[in-house]
């Protein structure tokens, strides 16, 4: 990271933990309500929010459980406020009920998942095995944007942007990180400009002064009316997330082997690309920074001239499903998946590619 920046919106370099960057990004975006519950490896988020929210005139409340925390977000969002919560895998499962209600009731909010090993109690190591949970959301037809940061800077930037995205899609937005990103400390630049104000929310339940009452609900008992509601939500999601089809690319210009990876595991992939190029395998990395909507079109283009696409993930075959859908048979797709909080090193990724290419040739 360079010492100097010409961008007037960005401040001096600071060292922050990923979990701390969640808080600062949210505060910059005008979030003044945080309701959460302790769970490792994201405890720094509620701890820091308990300190910072009162400093900025906001509210921190430790809920009695994740079940309650997401419902408190439901209440604050109904009041028109920018509100958020955070948790880790088992806690996110508890929040899924509330996520579905928030989505059905068209309520904006931001939910951060600092993933850990699962299923069940699992462990507290970083993992990426909540990918499918995040991109499907919860019960019902859910359309929710999912950001996938790969650095402390991106955590800050994506959490900050997520509030604006949530207001535009009128629904929950997930920021999907993991224990390593949450715990690591990196240099980053915070925003020093003013965040644009949030849009007006005439639908909020703030008391019916001089107007007919507002109702915030996800209950639509007639199937035709619920169908219409679902289609409207989907249409708004599609129109408001068009510019969210994003991926970072590294060495893909002439690559005929494409690694696809997000978040922490993409960092080992960068070095793996360099290692592979040293032995003559032209490998590039396609790193989605938003996994819902998934950047299918660009990946399909890259796959069209590839002889192999490898999904590198800290899970047993989750990201690869979206990769296969995007590639649609244009190139062979395989997965290097490591579960339980384990991960592949750069040499292991390189060796996997070489071995796979050899197996394909024979």
């Amino acid at each position: 990271m360079e010492d100097h920046t010409d961008d007037p919106r960005l401040g001096d370099l600071v060292l922050l933990k990923g979990n701390e960057a969640v808080c600062e990004g949210a505060i910059w975006a005008g979030c003044r309500f945080f309701f959460g519950y302790p769970i490792t490896p994201q405890n720094q988020i509620p701890e820091m929010m308990s300190r910072r929210m009162p400093e900025v005139g906001g509210t921190y409340l430790q809920a009695e459980s994740e079940l309650a925390a997401i419902s408190m977000v439901h209440g604050a969002s109904s009041a028109g406020a920018r509100a958020m919560t955070s948790s880790s895998s088992p806690g996110i499962s508890l929040m899924q009920e509330g996520l579905s209600y928030l989505a059905g009731a068209e309520l904006p909010c931001v939910v951060v998942n600092i993933q850990r090993g699962g299923p069940g109690l699992g462990n507290i190591a970083g993992a990426q095995s909540d990918y499918l949970q995040a991109v499907s959301g919860a019960h019902g037809d859910m359309f929710l944007p999912v950001y996938a940061p790969g650095s402390v800077q991106e955590i800050y930037d994506f959490v900050a942007e997520a509030f604006d995205t949530a207001d535009r899609v009128r629904g929950p937005v997930i920021v999907l990180a993991d224990a390593m990103l949450g715990q690591m400390t990196e240099a980053m630049r915070p925003r020093v400009d003013a965040c644009p104000p949030a849009p007006e929310k005439p639908w909020a339940t703030v008391g019916a002064r001089n107007r007919a009452p507002n109702l915030i609900t996800s209950l639509y008992t007639q199937p035709d009316s619920l169908a219409q509601h679902n289609r409207r939500i989907r249409a708004r999601f599609e129109s408001e997330t068009r510019e969210l089809c994003r991926a970072d690319e590294c060495l893909t210009e002439d690559a005929d082997v494409i690694l696809v990876s997000y978040g922490i595991s993409s960092r080992s992939c960068q070095t793996a690309c360099e290692l592979l190029r040293e032995s003559g395998v032209r490998t590039g990395l396609f790193r989605p920074t938003v996994v819902r909507p998934f950047p299918e079109a660009r990946l399909a283009q890259l796959a069209a001239r590839a002889r192999l696409v490898v999904s590198v993930e800290m899970s047993l075959g989750q990201l690869v499903k979206d990769v296969r859908l995007a590639v649609q048979g244009r190139a062979p797709v395989t997965v290097l998946g490591r579960p339980g909080g384990t991960y592949s090193t750069s040499p292991e990724i390189a060796e996997f590619v070489v071995t796979t290419l050899q197996q394909m040739a024979s």
Partner: protein, 259 residues
């Protein structure tokens, strides 16, 4: 001789003059009206936000003339907390049945009460699950037959009923807790007083007001409305005594939470 019309009875401003979906003899109609009258008398309709449960009263928003939120099952006190913390000048009330509040929502009500959240809770206790067609509730009485206690609720299998008001009264947090009933004209009048006080606990004393309202469910008790009212007086009220259990309004005149 000229006669003058005097309106003796009308729909409260906080109610919508609509035909209700509730069963004949359901006491939700009475309790909705008492809540609406209390809101009108306190002049707070335009500041009110109601939170409806999952249960027969999910449609309360069709009958009340104020902002409403429909909450997940049992989570209304948490939704109310989020709203109240975001907009402290709003008057927020939850309206919950015995499944919503005393089963799935037990944690949420205890903690909202313990925090003395600025809210009013109307707990409609009829000892059965109506919306889902008649299963037993945490407040169903011993011996009572329901669709999931066909041999009658027993201490050995289903355990003892829960007295929610007494349980919450053990906490230091709540500003006002009362148990009332809507099973006879005198009890309806007392229920109205309790509901007014539970709103005042929030409006004037910036705290947590709670009224458990013993109600009937003729349909799933398998009785006529009149028989159900009689059962409530003779069997339900003795197990769930009426009265004010907590009244800390005096001494809590000033708000203690930083705004």
């Amino acid at each position: 001789m000229e006669t003058m019309e005097k309106v003796a009875f009308s729909t409260p401003e906080c109610m919508v003059d609509a035909t209700m979906h509730y069963c004949p003899g359901c006491t939700h109609g009475i309790v909705h009206r008492l809540v609406a009258e209390a809101i009108d008398e306190l002049g707070i309709r335009e500041k009110c936000v109601g939170i409806s449960p999952v249960g027969c009263a999910v449609y309360m928003y069709d009958y009340m003339n104020c902002d409403f939120i429909q909450a997940a099952h049992g989570r209304a006190p948490a939704v109310a907390t989020g709203l109240s913390r975001a907009l402290p000048e709003t008057i927020v009330f939850t309206y919950q049945g015995d499944g919503d509040l005393a089963a799935i929502g037990t944690a949420e009500i205890v903690h909202a009460a313990a925090r003395n959240e600025r809210m009013t809770v109307i707990f409609v206790n009829n000892g059965i699950y109506g919306m889902t067609q008649g299963q037993y509730a945490p407040t169903t009485l011993i011996g009572q037959r329901t669709s999931t206690s066909p041999r009658g609720r027993s201490v050995e299998v289903e355990g003892y009923p829960i007295r929610v008001s007494e349980m919450l009264a053990a906490l230091d947090g709540p500003t006002y807790i009362a148990r009332a009933a809507v099973v006879s004209p005198p009890t309806v009048r007392q229920a109205k007083r309790a509901i007014l006080r539970a709103f005042e606990a929030q409006v004037t004393y910036r705290g947590f007001g709670f009224v458990e309202v013993l109600s009937t469910c003729p349909t799933y008790w398998g009785m006529t409305p009149a028989e159900a009212l009689k059962r409530a007086e003779e069997h339900v009220v003795p197990y769930y005594p009426l009265g004010e259990l907590v009244d800390r309004r005096q001494g809590r005149e000033t708000a203690t939470r930083p705004e």
